[in-house]
Subunit: 192 residues, 2 copies
């Protein structure tokens, strides 16, 4: 996705430890015009898949999922990272290790919001080690729903997550795939 | 907002301890059509206020803010509840006590995303005791930005938050205001 590559080149910042800061447009401040273009792109790719629900994970996935869901005309469910008083039904859970926060936690979805007959599109902002995405795939599998596809905004192609998820047989589509990144240059996959 | 009252009457569930579960349409599963109507309603109310940015708080506020921002044509910033490796700039912080999670934590916004010259619309799903909203108002004040208004989807009118926020002089608009609720009946403010 050319527009996304341009924005990443202009506004993303590479930090030591393979951290790509996209907080000025994707996961702290949100560029809503860009999110609309992202939503259209996911819709073009998955429009014929019979998607009935979009699943994402709080917090950064929510805006991407909500904006994209407008094109599909389907509801969003976002997996939660903390149990709250408000989660009191039967739960679908999966452990996720966060690279950013440096800890492992359960992500949960109430069972009544995902089940047989649903065809799910999973959306998220990043794919690196693939822990969050594996958790979401496991939740879809346990729910009895089918996995219609996975849309990722930025895949770190040099990390293990993409191979891990593709090995499950999932239809994974990343809008951009980063081959390498340094403070001075971000190289995308189809440019080398 | 009539549509919202209808949806709340049909789908919300009242639990002991003044908990109103709206997880089937507002804060776990998201009814995107309803969010669009909510966004239009906030736009009608605040369109002439010269809003330049929408501020909300993760996680439940994000979808509401992102969908609404499309009508205003402005970016969203969402305050974070946890410090992460990715927050490395100068921070604006405020303490917030969560009624749902039963704990106090700092909410943070990177200073570079909010400052003088901005006119901010704060959006959130619930107003009850007003702690999260007070934190967001404090952050706007500390940033040097002006507060253009506050939009709330559901105000618990029987709790203290509304009075607390209105006493600050803020232009607070709640789409629905609940006067009382029991397992059998939810009474809205303009129906008594």
């Amino acid at each position: 996705m050319e527009l996304l590559k341009q924005v990443i080149r202009q506004k993303a910042v590479v930090r030591p430890g393979d951290v790509l800061k996209v907080d000025s447009f994707l996961n702290h401040q949100l560029d809503i015009g860009l999110l609309n273009e992202i939503g259209k792109e996911f819709y073009c790719r998955f429009r014929n898949k019979g998607i009935t629900k979009i699943l994402t994970i709080e917090a950064s996935g929510i805006a991407i999922a909500a904006i994209t869901a407008q094109y599909f005309g389907v509801p969003v469910v976002f997996a939660k990272k903390n149990h709250t008083k408000n989660l009191d039904g039967e739960l679908l859970c999966a452990p996720v290790t966060s690279f950013t926060h440096g800890r492992t936690y359960d992500v949960t979805v109430e069972k009544k919001f995902l089940g047989p007959g649903e065809n799910v599109l999973i959306l998220d902002d990043f794919l690196a080690k693939g822990s969050a995405l594996t958790g979401l795939c496991d939740i879809v599998e346990h729910s009895g729903a089918s996995l219609g596809g996975i849309g990722i905004v930025i895949e770190k192609g040099f990390d293990v997550g993409g191979d891990l998820i593709r090995a499950r047989g999932a239809d994974l589509y990343s809008l951009v795939r980063i081959r390498s990144m340094t403070e001075n240059a971000i190289v995308f996959d189809d440019e080398v």
